[in-house]
Symmetry: C2
Subunit: 389 residues, 2 copies
């Protein structure tokens, strides 16, 4: 186990009806906020009215910034920064999924910064200050509600880049599983893949003696795997929605990475896909992760055997552990397929004509590698895209 520092202070307010508490929660921080959300879905479901009423009741003024979209855009972030500055706003409430939250986080670090907010995502500067923010989550997926991560897409070149700093962890996250009842099945499944990917990125590590976090990862994966088919059959199953929603937070609040170094190459490889093709991140991960596994499993067959046996209940083949490892990868791929996700690029009509361009972007034209479990160069990434064809 490596030395680590862990602090995940987000106040989780979980359960039925909790969105009604938002006004009381927000007013502890500010009386004038930016209300940031996506499109019309929160208006259709009635959530928007509940939030607005709760804010008004608590005497909280708000200026709205709708328009957050999947793979959230830098241009909207810049607009949010401008609104906050011009109106002396010092708190941001994001209502939605990872897109609204990641976008809110970018606004939060952008407002007190004199330079261009993209500096933080391009790795040219590290933010030292951030406005506090709160979240009402409507989608179990990115774990952004309690994470230190934000991923933004720069339309100028379609670069999708992440920022990871503790100061952007939300102050509170209101999580009512009922708010996820109306999600279309495909989005639910993409969320499931994203949650599982967050765990698997941490699970595949070269750090030894990480038994507790291994087991916590396995516990969280098994819970998601068990409950995903239930919510697809029965979208208003509160219990199963709740398990997935809470698992989504645990998957990415860094508890599961304490004392270990995760991999994260599948995320890097996927980000290039969704930046160019604007596909759902979770769908991209369902395609990339099994291909990545097939490419790297020989680096540590035992770890893939453990994954197969403990997560997928594969019967251990003691005479041929490699077969067990491969069966685990197959089960993952079969699972993604069973919940309606693509597992090959061809299934979403992506051909091989931009593999080199994406590998170039992921590695800064071959100047750097991605991944920690196995460090992958430009050629490796092209090979993985080919395995995912």
């Amino acid at each position: 186990m490596d030395n680590f520092i862990f602090k995940s202070p987000t106040k989780i307010i979980f359960g039925r009806g909790t969105e009604e508490l938002v006004g009381e929660e927000v007013k502890q921080y500010s009386k004038k906020i930016l209300l940031h959300y996506g499109g019309g879905s929160i208006k259709r479901t009635g959530l928007y009215d509940k939030v607005v009423n709760s804010l008004k009741k608590a005497g909280v003024e708000f200026i709205e910034l709708p328009g957050a979209q999947p793979n959230p855009r830098l241009s909207l972030v810049r607009e949010g920064i401008k609104i906050c500055r011009e109106n002396g706003i010092d708190f941001i409430l994001a209502v939605g999924g990872g897109s609204a939250i990641d976008s809110a986080k970018a606004i939060a670090v952008g407002v007190p910064y004199e330079g261009d907010v993209w500096d933080f995502y391009a790795g040219k500067a590290v933010p030292e200050k951030a406005l506090p923010l709160g979240v009402i989550l409507t989608l179990a997926a990115t774990g952004s509600e309690a994470s230190k991560s934000s991923v933004i897409t720069n339309e100028d070149g379609w670069y999708k880049r992440g920022l990871n700093v503790d100061i952007i962890r939300p102050q509170f996250a209101i999580m009512n599983p009922e708010l996820t009842f109306t999600l279309p099945p495909y989005q639910t499944s993409c969320g499931v893949a994203d949650i599982m990917a967050h765990i698997m990125e941490r699970y595949f590590t070269n750090t030894r003696n990480v038994e507790l976090t291994d087991r916590l990862c396995e516990a969280t994966l098994k819970t998601v795997i068990h409950n995903a088919p239930i919510v697809l059959k029965d979208p208003e199953n509160y219990a199963a929605r709740a398990e997935i929603m809470w698992a989504g937070t645990i998957a990415h609040n860094d508890l599961l990475s304490t004392g270990r170094i995760g991999d994260w190459s599948s995320h890097a490889i996927e980000h290039e896909l969704s930046a160019i093709y604007d596909i759902a991140h979770g769908a991209g991960l369902a395609i990339v992760f099994p291909a990545w596994m097939k490419y790297v499993y020989k680096h540590d067959i035992n770890r893939f055997v453990q994954f197969a046996v403990r997560v997928w209940d594969v019967d251990m083949n003691f005479e041929n552990p490699e077969e067990t490892a491969l069966e685990g990868i197959k089960r993952l791929e079969d699972f993604f397929r069973s919940i309606g996700l693509p597992v090959r690029l061809s299934e979403i009509n992506i051909s091989d004509d931009r593999f080199e361009e994406m590998a170039d972007k992921a590695t800064n034209r071959g100047q750097k590698t991605v991944g920690q479990f196995v460090q992958l160069g430009r050629e490796d990434i092209i090979n993985i895209y080919n395995l995912a064809k």
Copy 2:
């Protein structure tokens, strides 16, 4: 899953050499602190010198209050409160195990309170303010380093009572597994029993649909069960000490109770034992918990079957699940015995002559019940003491 609020903001600073960071950490809060610890062990091991040097280097003044002992006493708490008030101290650093930390928490709520600090433990008042505190942990057991709990013994009548409020969660916990290398085997085992009890108190619940937290509980229990014999054989095994230490925090920071109502009767029943006989809390739990299980398991056999199969890898008896449930309880008892703990009161020379007195105290002379999984009255508690004879 029940609605819940979860916030566990303690900054965990984990790993080799981390005690050297204490001065830098403390000075973010205060330049004049109470340094609270137990007896001579931190002086023998050299930890005391390291802490003092680090504080001095950071320019932090300190007044010392040694003397925290197992089942920490109210009189020392009162002394600490007096010292803090007389010297304008606004931060407490506890160095030690649960006793020093629980005692520091009591001082922390006592200083800003005009009445008697025991009011909080007797349930006569709820603290609204607390001094901030930090911890250097030297014993994996109580989980107090990140919990909202403090247990104090009032020598006037030997009442042992707990306080549970979020404001006493430490600001930071420095956790170096090496600091636990010198623990005697018996104390190590008592710590293991305490950690397991914290998880099991949460595990045995009537709340349905708590799959994720069930699995996280099982993961943490399995880790502790696996690593306990390793550290008993090889006390300086860093990896195994680290697993147990981190598990001890997770066991009691409330992550494992999110969305569910735990039982906590074994703790209440044990507290009467250790208050009167001054035995180690962990040893008392090793005696009480199996007896409690034997007394209540029929209330929900399936839950005990799950415990047996998932935690103890008992082969499921599909024709007779009750046998599986009982085998799980037996495995727990065998495990405690295997790590050198008593599992019967007679083994620590406690006879049955004060069972009624203890049951009276636990239930306020039969006026109330203890436990949530099964609500136990005075007679039930006497029956459990008898099962533990």
